[in-house]
Every structure is written in C-alpha cells, then in structure tokens.
C-alpha cells in the first residue's frame, strides 16, 4: 500500500466504517487531522474493495486490453469497440450479488439499472441485456425464493425500460447457498465520434445533477459489498436500493437527447458510492476540484445529513458537467421528461472536494492524494492444489439410454425457458437470435451487420484448476460467438470470488486471471471493461469461483448467421475438434457418479483458435446448416440440444460410443450439420483440423446410437423442459 506520509497512529472512532486501522491513519495523514464524519464516510466508500479494487488491481492490470478495434478499454464507465461504418459498441458487465441475496427482486432489478446507466452514460443506446445467474442447491430452502425474485427483478426492470434481455446462463450449486451471483451485462451502440467520457474540464463549469431524487436508500452499499456475510446479513436490507425503471427509461431518453447536442463536457452515473464516487472520479480525472452545495440536491426526504447524501445509492441519478451556455437548453430537455435538473455545484481549480450543507463545510479534502493513496494490496496467495485426471475406464459402465435424459433434465443442463420467457427479449424488434442459442444476435437498424453476444463461465472448472478454468471461460465464450458465425471482438469480465484475504481464495483469483490472460492473448480477445465482486462468502464458506466472461462479436452480414437447430434429414453431423473423452470435473461425473473431482479439460488455445477460425470460415461459405459448441454434457448433449431446437431426430454411429466419448467435455469442439460433408472434410484436411462424421439428421422421431433408440425427441423435450417449471411450482 502506498502511503501519503509515514503513517502514525491517530485516535480512532469505535466504528471505522470498514477501513482498516492503517487505512484510517492514511486518511488522517492526508488531511493532517482526523476526518469529519462525512469525510470518514467518503474515505470508507472510496477505499472499499468495491470501489478501489484494492485486492484485485495488481492482477487485473496484467490482462490484455488493447487491439486495433478497441476505442476505450477499462477505466471508463464501460468499454468501447469499433464495429465499422462509424459505429461503436459499448458494453460492460456488473455484479449485484450481495444485494440480490438480501432482497432478490430489488437487488437484481437495480443491478440491471446500474449496468444500463454505465452504458448510456457513454452515449450509447442500450440495445441488449444479458445476465449470468448462479444459485444454491435446488434443495436448499432459500433457492426457489431467490430464483423467483431475481428473475422477476431482472424482468421487471429490463422489460419496463424497453431493452431486450436476449441471453444468459443459470447454474445451481450448493456453494452458492449463502451467496447467489447476479451478473448483468448491457450492450449499447453509439456513433464512434459521439462517445462521452467522465473527465471533468473547465473550472467554473456547473456541476449538474439529473434524474431521480436522493433518499436514504443504499447508504454504504459499496461497503456492504466489500464484506463477508454472516447470519445477521438480513439486517443489511436497508443498504439495498430500490429501483424505478420508469425513471430510468426517461433518464435514458433525456440523456440521449441531450447527448445529440454539444452541451455535455463530462458525464458520470451515480452508481456505487453515489455522489461521492461520481464527483471524485470526474474531478479527479480532470485534475480539478469540485464544490458541492448539498442543499441544492433534489431530496426525497427531509433532514438528510451530508454524510447520508454523499453515501446514498439512490438509483437513476447522473452527474454532468455542462457548458454554461447550454444550461438552459439542457434544463428544458429534462423538464420535458419530468426529471429533476439541479445545478449543485461547480468545478474549481483547488483540487479539493468541498461539501457544504446548511452553510457549513462538512468535508474539505484533497482529491488527488485520496485517489493516489487508494490502497493496492499484494495479497498473499496460494496456488490451488492440482487435481489428478479421472480415468474414465475405472468408472462404472452405464447405459447412455439412462444417462442422456438424466443429464438433459439436470438443473444445469435443463431448459431455462421458464426464466427467459419472463424477459421481453423482442422489444425494439431487432432480435435475430432468441435466448436458447449459442449466442444472442441483435441486428442494427439500417445495417447489414449484427452484434452477437454471450456470457459464459464454468465455475466447477475454475474451482478444479483456476488457470485452466479462467482460460476455458474465455475460450468457451469465444467459441459460442464463433458458433453463430460471428467474429469475437472483445470481452467484459465479472470476477466473482470469495474472501481475498484468504490466500487460497486469492490463489483462485490469481490463477483465473493468469488463465484468462493467456486465452485473451491467444484469441486476440481483449478485456475492455469489467467488475470485481469479492467476499462472496457466508460464515466462511466461499462460492465456486466464477470469472464470468461477457463477449461481443460482429457478424458483418447478419444473413450469414447460423443457429443450432437441425434443419433437414440427411444432413451429416460432424464433430470439429479432437475428442479424447475427458470426464474430469464434468457434468457427467457430478450428475451420474456423484463425484465432484478430477482435473478439468485442458484448454489448448492453438487448437481453439484453429478450430474456431475453421468453423467460422465454413459458416461464411454457407456450408453449415446448424452449429453448436460441445461443452457441458459433451457431444451427445450437444446433438440432443440441436435435435430439440430443430424438432428432428438423428442417427448416430460414431467410431467410439463409450460414455467418455459421448459425454466427455474436451474443449475446442463444435458439432455442425452440413449438406456437403465431403467439402467440409476436404477443407478440414487442408486446414489440419480434426473432424469426424458421427451421424446424420434423420426423418425419424428419435435419437439413435448404432441403430438403437436412445430416446424420442419429444420424450427428451419433456425431461429437458419440465425440470425448472416443475421445480418452481413446488413449495419448500
């Protein structure tokens, strides 16, 4: 940790508000005195794990963040990439784990609201939302309640603001019993030359507050998100904010209308740590000071102190620096939408944050030293122990006739239709691929191109081997975009881990970042934005580590997209990529044998790139009728999903038909259906990509293996579709 001065021990209040004694001393050293109550609160949230990334930034810095198509990498509200024709795509993912566990509906809803603001703050029209959800054991008494609340919250917010929720993933595992994960991603589109940043400029320029009024909700939310849970976590409910998607919708429209003019100098949403972090970040980035008169802040309730106002996390608020000459015009736009618009201060040359209330100065602190002294820890970490590979031959022999429906109806592989049918995934009218495919696709009006997007992580792999698991999350994401025909461009990451003060947990984090780094480099797939959520533990039980990857890719010609549905009897089914039959850390091992062990499948990034580029090339040549990545549950589950989507049977006759081959989770593989297998085989040979024909799409009603019926497609549909609705209809 960098210190402003050599720390001496200062007298301390009883409640340090989450600061360590050393951090409190640093704060005193910066001020040359003990902080006021308001200043203490400001230090506390600015230096919280959530806002300062103090445990993670040392490692996050090692991730690749550049490419010729990256316009803006991490550090702004969201990442920005060039998608051609003067268009830019702006996107980010963010967690709302702690609030969602405490109050699932509002926690999840405000997670969506927060990530939307991060994206439209930069000038983008939000065009799609996605989410990655992880819940505890379905048998745990809280799980059903959390699923219902989180899904309703995401839908309630996204549906109302009119942004389609087009994709996501949902897992269940007992490691999330006390900490569900709710990660929300927003993708937006802007003109490349109309992107807005947060660095303030121009001393004397007005600081303008717009949006909803400030209340006492969410005070110290960022601090809550930076601590572990215990049995008393329910008492933290008042730190969860309450969302108002209607106001957000108006705020989107008003901001975009204002952004079409030249009025804005800088803009920043008020997210975690509200007025504090937005004002400090804007002034800090501009090397300026800022003076706030809190009596002018639109307030929802009377008698709020400056401490409460500075720390409130009331939703749907933005802070802007405007050109003084455009103030009147800007005010008229917000008035049109019935939103508050208040000049609450001005930029200064002092470099200090000055907060006044009732004519009294409640905070007067230097911004640069506070930002520079923001703690950065090289936390001790321990490499995760290596697991041995699983020898598939030693596992009991099982009949795939019994295995397939069991896997397809297991909580992780079962259809998530019950969830995504509660999300309006069609509004705006440009959804080209609905949820349920490898990646969602959203068209851009007036353009031939489309954006593909997806979120991925396989926490059981990360837990088994953080390096391989981190690489796998990136690779699978890249593969899913490839499977629809898109060229993957960049990612946003959401790092969900336990308590970083424990070396074993920190080791998971470090390993995952190392794996992601390798994969991002090998696949030329840079990180442009992200979020870290640590302390996902309850009573000392950490979650399965989840470095969730949100990826965006480009389809230059949207007409050349493919989906996973089998199209026509007679098409050959070809597996691209090599299959050894890797069962370590697989769904098969967990669901069928009840074993959660073994090394996860190794990630060969060179093969990943080669196979993916090959498949994308085939799709571009229109040689692929259907395509699906082979991941959880292996080749047979992949083909089963393709059969369900296309309402077609398939006759399979692979060279090997043991369960390790059928259900193994070797990486870098795709299943494609093609009308021209000879051509595909010839191209594969030339590209040195391993391929094998494993069967044909049939006109029959069933999936067959070597002439024997495994299951009819309609019976498979019943087990696949029924699990979640049935589960949700039960009572504890």
């Amino acid at each position: 940790m960098k210190r402003a001065k050599k720390a001496k021990a200062w007298p301390k209040p009883k409640d340090l508000m989450g600061l360590s004694p050393a951090e409190y001393d640093t704060a005193c050293a910066i001020l040359g005195r003990t902080p006021t109550h308001t200043e203490h609160g400001i230090f506390s949230v600015m230096w919280s794990e959530h806002c300062s990334y103090k445990s993670s930034k040392k490692w996050l810095k090692t991730l690749p963040t550049t490419a010729p198509w990256v316009i803006c990498g991490p550090g702004e509200n969201a990442g920005v990439i060039d998608i051609g024709e003067g268009d830019a795509c702006i996107f980010k993912i963010e967690s709302h784990n702690h609030p969602s566990y405490i109050e699932p509906y509002q926690g999840a809803a405000t997670g969506v609201g927060g990530i939307l603001r991060d994206v439209f703050t930069m000038g983008a029209r939000p065009v799609a939302n996605l989410n990655a959800l992880r819940f505890g054991d379905p048998k745990h008494p809280k799980t059903r309640h959390l699923v219902a609340g989180v899904v309703a919250g995401i839908g309630g917010y996204g549906n109302c603001v009119g942004v389609p929720t087009v994709g996501g993933e949902t897992n269940f595992h007992p490691a999330y019993n006390g900490n569900c994960l709710v990660n929300a991603m927003t993708v937006g589109v802007a003109r490349k030359d109309r992107i807005f940043y947060s660095a303030a400029a121009g001393a004397g320029n007005p600081v303008v507050y717009v949006g909803a009024k400030t209340g006492r909700d969410g005070i110290h939310g960022a601090t809550m998100a930076s601590a572990e849970f215990d049995d008393k976590s329910e008492e933290k409910r008042p730190t969860v904010q309450v969302g108002d998607p209607f106001t957000e919708k108006l705020l989107i429209e008003a901001c975009l209308e204002l952004m079409a003019t030249d009025a804005i100098v800088a803009i920043q949403d008020m997210g975690a740590a509200g007025l504090t972090s937005s004002s400090v970040e804007m002034a800090g980035k501009g090397g300026l000071g800022i003076e706030l008169d809190l009596d002018r802040v639109p307030a929802r309730e009377t008698g709020m102190t400056s401490y409460e106002m500075m720390l409130s996390e009331s939703q749907e608020r933005m802070l802007m620096i405007l050109k003084p000459s455009r103030q009147k015009m800007a005010a008229a736009i917000f008035e049109k939408y019935g939103l508050d618009f208040a000049v609450i201060g001005k930029l200064t040359k002092t470099g200090r944050l000055v907060v006044k209330k009732n004519g009294q100065v409640d905070a007067d602190m230097p911004i640069a030293p506070m930002v520079q002294a923001s703690p950065e820890y090289a936390r001790p970490w321990k490499k995760s122990p290596k697991r041995r590979a699983i020898d598939a031959k030693r596992l009991p022999k099982r009949d795939p006739v019994a295995v397939l429906p069991k896997l397809m109806g297991s909580p992780d592989l079962a259809s998530k239709r019950w969830i995504w049918e509660q999300y309006d995934h069609l509004v705006r009218g440009h959804t080209l691929q609905r949820p349920g495919g490898d990646a969602a696709i959203v068209g851009l009006p007036g353009r031939k191109k489309a954006l593909a997007m997806v979120v991925d992580c396989t926490p059981r792999y990360v837990h088994a081997d953080p390096v391989q698991g981190g690489a796998q999350a990136v690779a699978e994401n890249w593969r899913n975009l490839t499977a629809v025909g898109a060229t993957p461009l960049a990612i946003t990451d959401n790092m969900n881990f336990g308590n970083p003060e424990r070396p074993a947990i920190m080791g998971q984090f470090v390993g995952a970042v190392q794996g992601m780094r390798k994969a991002c480099k090998a696949l030329r797939y840079p990180v442009v934005s992200g979020n870290v959520s640590l302390y996902n533990e309850t009573n000392g039980n950490a979650i399965l580590p989840a470095p969730v990857v949100g990826g965006v890719g480009l389809l230059k010609d949207a007409d050349k997209r493919v989906d996973l549905a089998l199209k026509e009897a007679g098409h050959a089914l070809i597996v691209v990529g090599k299959t050894q039959g890797w069962l370590g850390a697989s769904v098969y091992l967990r669901e069928i044998e009840g074993i959660e062990d073994g090394a996860p499948p190794p990630v060969d990034l060179a093969a990943e790139k080669r196979n993916g580029d090959f498949v994308r090339g085939l799709i571009g040549k229109r040689l692929v009728a259907a395509c699906h990545d082979a991941s959880d549950g292996g080749i047979l589950c992949a083909i089963a999903e393709m059969a369900l989507a296309g309402r077609k049977g398939a006759d399979l006759a692979p060279a090997r038909a043991d369960n390790a081959y059928l259900f193994g989770e070797d990486q870098a593989r795709y299943v494609i259906a093609t009308a021209k297998p000879e051509k595909v085989l010839a191209l594969a040979k030339a590209a040195r990509v391993p391929v094998e024909i494993v069967g044909r799409v049939s006109s029959g009603p069933s999936l067959t293996l070597a002439g024997r019926v495994l299951i009819s497609v309609e019976a498979l549909r019943a087990v696949h579709e029924n699990w979640l609705p049935h589960y949700m209809s039960q009572k504890n």
Partner: protein, 236 residues
C-alpha cells in the same frame, strides 16, 4: 397514408410499430410526444404503442388514459379515425373507455414473452380483411397484464356483434385452455369497438413483420398482413 404514434413517458415499442408501418406503407409515421398537446390534422391512423406508460405502477394504462392527449385521441377515434392499440396501447384503450373490458394480471402471475397462436375471429374489419377467416397466425406476446376480462353480458354482446378480432389458440387452431397463455376470457386476444374502427390487442403484430427477424420468431411475418390491410383500407 398519414399516421401518428402517441408516445407516453414509458412507451417502449413506438419504434417497433413505426418500423412495421413504414414497411407496409413506405412512409414513416409521426411520433407525437404526449405533452405536445395536439395530434396532427387529418390522420389516417392513430397508434397507441406498447410499453409501460407512466411506469404502470398503478393499473396498467390507467394513468395514460387520463392524460390530456387522450381526450383528443378519444375524440378522433369516436369521429372515426382508425385507431390501433397494442399491448399497453390496448390497456389504455380499455381504460379510456374506447374499448370494453379490462386487462387483468396474467393467470400465471408472471410476465410472458413468447410466440402465441391466434385465430382470426373475423375478417370483416379494416384491420383483418386481408386474413382468411379462421386463419391461424403466430405473433409474439410480451406482457404481464394481458388477461382480458369483461362481464358475461359484454362478452355476449362482443360475440353477437362480431367485435372479437383475434382469439388465442393452439397451433392447430383450437381456442381452448391449452391455447390460452394468460387466462383471457373466451381466449380473447383482441377486440374492436362497435364501429370496428378501433382495435386493441395484446400480441405484437409489429414484431412479426420483418423478414430479417422472422427466423427468430419461428418464421413468422404474419403481422405484416395486418399493417398491409390498414394501409390498403385507408388508402381507398
């Protein structure tokens, strides 16, 4: 054709229906912000789009139905200007009294976004004349409160006077409980006023008009016919 879409605070499918109308008529409709005060003169069509007007924190459509611009919409509609309300627009039409009945919460108490099948109940209207009688269509729905309700007398009157536009049905065209996604009375998905110049429906024909997005929607552009029909009728 001259059409206007009324945009309330919280409307969110105004762009979708504007695109659909443009596809059918070749002309972009005018978007009229609710507080502008007046609708353009001599309109061939007024549209109330989907969304969450005023957040719909009260009964859906109740606030919008009482907003000043609705006085003019009601007057124009009563004077015979063709008026279409989709989803939230249907709710507003019911709340404003232009259409009979109300929309309750879905029987399943959840938001539903998926494709449904609809049976054309009558082709005798400016909105439905290009469909075949009894034709089965596929449109998406996206609503939480689409459960149509009216008292028995009203339902009978609607049926007797051919005021039912669409009914939810199974893919095979059965208007039974299996084909009913939200519990609507007698599977009613859309109704007309007595003069059949006002249509309200919960499903989104505007989201089933674009050949480019059709593959995501099970291949349907069935909604285009509805907009084509309107264009043809008002152009005569």
């Amino acid at each position: 054709m001259k059409s206007a879409i009324v945009v309330f605070p919280g409307s969110n499918r105004e762009g979708d229906v504007a695109d659909a109308l443009q596809r059918a008529s070749g002309k972009r409709p005018e978007l009229v912000w609710h507080s502008t005060g007046a609708l353009p003169a001599k309109l061939d069509l007024i549209v109330l789009p989907g969304g969450f007007s005023y957040g719909d924190y009260l009964r859906c459509g109740a606030m919008a139905a009482r907003s000043p611009i609705m006085r003019e919409v009601v007057a124009r509609a009563k004077a015979g200007t063709p008026t279409l309300g989709v989803c939230n627009g249907f709710q507003i039409l019911c709340e404003s009294g232009l259409l009979p009945g109300v929309l309750l919460s879905n029987a399943g108490l959840k938001f539903i976004c998926r494709d449904v099948h609809l049976k054309v109940a009558t082709r005798r209207s400016l909105f439905t004349h290009r469909y075949a009688a009894g034709q089965v269509l596929r449109f998406p729905v996206a609503h939480h409160d689409g459960n149509y309700f009216a008292d028995a007398g009203t339902l009978k009157r609607l049926e007797d006077r051919d005021q039912i536009a669409f009914r939810y049905c199974t893919p095979a065209g059965e208007t039974d409980a299996d084909g009913n996604p939200n519990g609507s009375a007698r599977n009613i998905a859309g109704v007309f006023n007595a003069a059949k110049t006002v249509l309200g429906l919960m499903p989104h024909p505007e989201n089933a008009t674009d050949p480019a997005t059709a593959s995501a929607l099970g291949g349907t552009t069935d909604g285009k016919t509805l907009f084509d029909a309107i264009v043809e009728a008002v152009s005569k």
